[in-house]
Symmetry: C3
Subunit: 475 residues, 3 copies
């Protein structure tokens, strides 16, 4: 097994063993960052940033230069061919014929995957909308591992905007894979999306313990603990742990407090209004006086705005500038491994996913409802084929293979409609028993009645009834 | 003869032999793109892009890095001194003292020539407004040559926006030079400008055969053939070929179909309105089923929008991604030759221009009427001297030496006005017999009566009559 | 003494000897710009330009490449984390963990100093608002020195916008340090700010001779001489020179005429209106016919607009393109010395500053009144501590340690208020005798009565009287 030629678009692309391999090469490189023997000499990295960034872009470009490689970069969507209506696939194919590796940041969720599908060279996702930011997660884990020697079994608290932070979403799944326990401390209104919780439970075998503030003896704590989630001690055991005691957990101490800023640029209008009224809690010296934080690593992906006080900058628990600095060796290691100019042995994967989902990709007209998904953009819809993992049957739930958003479609039908008798060519409500009755290989899924009818299906009795009702309601 | 120290601002700057030299070095370099011995080590390329581009800029920068050289780049006019009102000449002189070679893209037509005139180092035009894009042409020709072994005698169809596409304009003249036959297949309203047709006929000894749709037995063909132009089999023979039979030509098969997108960013307001209503023909599998296209190379300078169907991407005739990829070795070869770090023998020129025009550059106040010409911009007019080739006398026709736009000026006069008798100091209509009567060395040309009178001339009898008439008309 | 690890944020950061060291290494490097042995191989320069620039940025990047180093760059504030509200300190700390040296241009005055305070690596100021541009000054001095062998005792005329030109402000102090004589020839309304004149007199021991146009026998000269300033022949002598005769000075010839463009982007609305009506004098051949300019070096930091005629470009006195070219070896030398990859012996400082000011940095709420000062920006005020040099006591005058703007605060008080008797806890007008009566270690300075009262002070009798008066005036 090797990482050469591979891409990293989400944290799921790498096993825990492959991430360990990156960390172990980073350990070697970090010893003498400035004295490399130019393993990437003659190699070119394309650095394509279609969203604002200084830190991440310059970190990648620094990493490539420290490896002796060259960089070509495009940083502003206004100054690129994309403004002329070019598709990501075309751009990827062309850049793939110039460079040896691509780093891409893009506002559309799933964009990095499309680049990886078409470029023909290794692709690294440097952030795709609110979806993922896997190299941030690598450097976060690397920092924790450097300070605590392991990740497994640690107690990591996530603070702030757990709704829109792509760094948070990548981090959650990686922590779960490595067997860490996660505490959620969201700002009000910025809770972890339900689909992520679902995924943690079903795929990672985790367990959620919701915090009941009424039972809290210590209500005036500074630490706004809203929910707590614990991954099982061993991710291989699916044992439920119903008796987790939050107080006990906290007293044992938090290993890391991962702070994030409100991602206001992704807020809805209503959220923006809310946030103007709201005063978010600030992580400062007073808050860190709590016993639970005595030895806590204070982490932040940066940039910070007001959520993390400057007075902490000289505190030995503060790790955020160290995180930024460690991004360079971690990215150097990643680039060197994907380009195949360095090899390290890859430890075995310690995580076994709990489930494997079938993929639905029939051309029945159904599209991802996420307006930021790459697959529904005007320039991409021409050639990109939708695809969805069927992650649940009751209710029928799809997850887009590009942006990983989950949703519940309206209707189903069967391609096998009783040997051509038109009378039986019916479509059904997705929440009816038909969804499981239709054989998987025959399943057709529709987002709307119009879509089903455009495919030559007519409503079944239950659908007609609902339509009539809603028609009445409308009238 | 060497290419070291030379510039490439239009395809006319290189002989066919010199282009062949570029191709032959590209052949050598393409063998092992990644394993160069850094011939450009220690050299710096300035990459100045004052118009949106990803592909072209990154292609040049890749080329320079593959040669072991360094790149400095400026990509956004808003972020440069030009925003402070600096002239192109000043910018060129300063950059010329930093770098070893300049690549420039600029919205003003003729801008690359001005840079070449002042930089003191080799300059490559990467696109100047709607004027030329000679390196795109080099890679287009290189692709054709690689697939067909030769360019001479091939039948090349040009499709789409033949009016605004600078890649088309550069390509037409280069194909003519190499002795290829050109078929024009413009989108409605986007025909090749007349001045280009004129130039092809007078300077390249070509011949135009207009297509008469009434005579077409095959009217419902998918292939929107509006006009056909054939260069003589041997460009050295000026023989007319009145009996070209379009049907026969087509049956023999088209060697390449060069598709372009509508350059909407250059459209006039009226054209933009038209284009919104218009549905442009799309090159797709159906169209390519025509027998004429059996072995046709499908080419496109990219980015494409809707004019070229994605279903063709896997078709073996499709060359557009290959074109993009071949841009790297072609540009590597060009850079290496202009910098003089590589030498190849230069074959003899196979093309002899039919005519050589006198240049008019007296300071009589006449200016290029093209508002996108570099010579009429506020920052450039201070120091740039206008110059025009006199390409015709009947009617008197000038061609700007910067943007190559042709136009017919209004009036003429003579510097030699009968030994000082004021009475005879008259100006004449340019379409009168005076234009040829005045000795070339004495000819003065004016754009308006005011200009002529500001130089101390008075209208002759014919001019007075016209002015009176138009005066009446106005009154 | 070494320059390794040092920063250059204002010309005051270097002694004359240290500047001479830069020049002497530049001399060595200029001999074979293209044939360096890559002393900066493996080093990375971060090039951060938060304001428009081509020339300066590309000059620095060229310099780094010629030294064999690599460059990472960010050129547009819109495309950076700063747009997310990040502070300069955070950005500096992160970049400091990526690169080996930082070059920064920023619109906020004093920003380069903040970067230098936090980056932990050498920082070069490439222009901070209207404050300073020290490397432009280095190359200006280097050009003069190359042409005239020395700077001491030369007569340098500064022409144009002496109010907003940061290059002018840096140059004035450096020329004074080197013992040159300076003539001011400002465009009307764009005179040298008084605080600069003050600084020249008090700190550099200079002397000002104002020009009296009534006495001028030669009133119709083209040379718009408004004021003349002469530094003493030897800066070590503080001798006054009351008998300077301007006519005599001019007849002896001007060594250099340093022309600048009106910095319209920094004009106030009123100045912009004025400038639209105004026709600024142009430096052209006619003006340079004056005997005083027979051997004058014509200099300009570029870009020029209309203040310097193109007809001078071929004049042997014109130095402006040479200046730009010499920027490369000067910046190479500076980078190499700050990075410590080259060492040269540093001559003794020839300039001894006349005064040393105490710094006021109590947290009494007083802030720099310059709205472009880095210390008063929303993102910086959270962590930056204000600081002011007390440069005068009568009237009390403070100079911001960041942007160096001077101003006169309103009120003072003493921390030592008679052992707790509240009755004596008063604040006083800054222009009263109290300012000198209060012991320096007890001095509190306030910008407003509100600020003083917020600190628990009450107005003294004199303050009450003034407040009553102004209250009446307002009523």
């Amino acid at each position: 097994m090797t990482l050469a030629g591979r891409s990293l678009t989400t944290v799921d692309d790498f096993t825990t063993g492959e991430m360990e391999a990156v960390f172990s090469l980073a350990d070697q490189l970090a010893v003498a960052l400035h004295q490399q023997d130019d393993p990437c000499r003659g190699k070119i990295m394309a650095s394509l940033f279609f969203e604002p960034s200084t830190r991440t872009r310059l970190s990648f470009e620094t990493a490539m230069h420290r490896l002796g490689g060259d960089v070509i970069s495009a940083v502003d969507i206004g100054a690129t061919s994309l403004a002329k209506g070019e598709s990501i696939a075309d751009m990827a194919r062309v850049i793939g014929s110039y460079a040896d590796i691509v780093v891409i940041r893009h506002p559309w969720e799933g964009a990095a995957r499309v680049v990886a599908d078409y470029a023909g060279i290794p692709v690294i996702n440097a952030g795709d909308g609110g979806h993922q930011h896997p190299t941030q997660t690598l450097l976060d884990l690397y920092t924790i591992r450097m300070e605590r020697k392991t990740i497994k079994g640690l107690k990591i608290a996530l603070w702030g905007d757990l709704k829109y932070g792509r760094t948070i979403h990548s981090l959650i799944f990686a922590l779960a894979k490595f067997g860490a326990n996660i505490l959620f401390c969201p700002s009000p209104g910025l809770e972890v999306p339900e689909h992520i919780i679902e995924k943690l439970i079903t795929e990672y075998g985790g367990e959620l313990e919701r915090y009941d503030s009424a039972k809290d003896k210590n209500k005036d704590r500074h630490f706004p603990l809203n929910a707590i989630y614990i991954t099982p001690d061993s991710p291989h055991q699916l044992a439920m742990m119903p008796d987790v005691n939050i107080e006990v957990e906290l007293k044992a101490g938090v290993d890391a407090l991962y702070v994030t800023r409100p991602q206001k640029e992704r807020f809805t209008a209503a959220e923006r209004e809310d946030s103007a009224r709201q005063k978010y809690a600030v992580v400062d010296k007073a808050l860190l006086k709590d016993n639970a934080f005595k030895k806590t690593l204070v982490m932040h992906p940066l940039p910070r705005v007001d959520e993390l006080a400057y007075e902490l900058d000289t505190d030995p628990r503060s790790m955020y500038f160290k995180q930024a600095a460690l991004g360079v060796p971690v990215r150097m290691a990643l680039i060197a491994l994907l380009l195949g100019v360095r090899e390290v042995s890859i430890p075995e994967d310690t995580f076994v996913p709990k489930v494997s989902y079938p993929v639905y990709n029939r051309d029945s007209g159904i599209r991802c409802p996420n307006t930021r998904c790459v697959s529904v953009q005007e320039t991409e819809i021409k050639y990109l084929r939708s695809g969805f993992k069927i992650v649940d049957h009751n209710p029928l739930t799809l997850r887009c293979i590009y942006c990983e958003h989950g949703f519940e479609p309206e209707y189903v039908a069967s391609t096998d409609w009783h040997e051509g008798k038109l009378a039986s060519r019916r479509y059904h409500r997705a929440d009816s028993h038909w969804t499981t009755k239709i054989k998987p290989e025959n399943l057709l899924i529709f987002a709307s009645a119009d879509q089903a009818e455009a495919h030559g299906f007519r409503p079944d009795h239950a659908v007609v009834q609902t339509q009539t009702k809603s028609g009445k309601a409308e009238a």
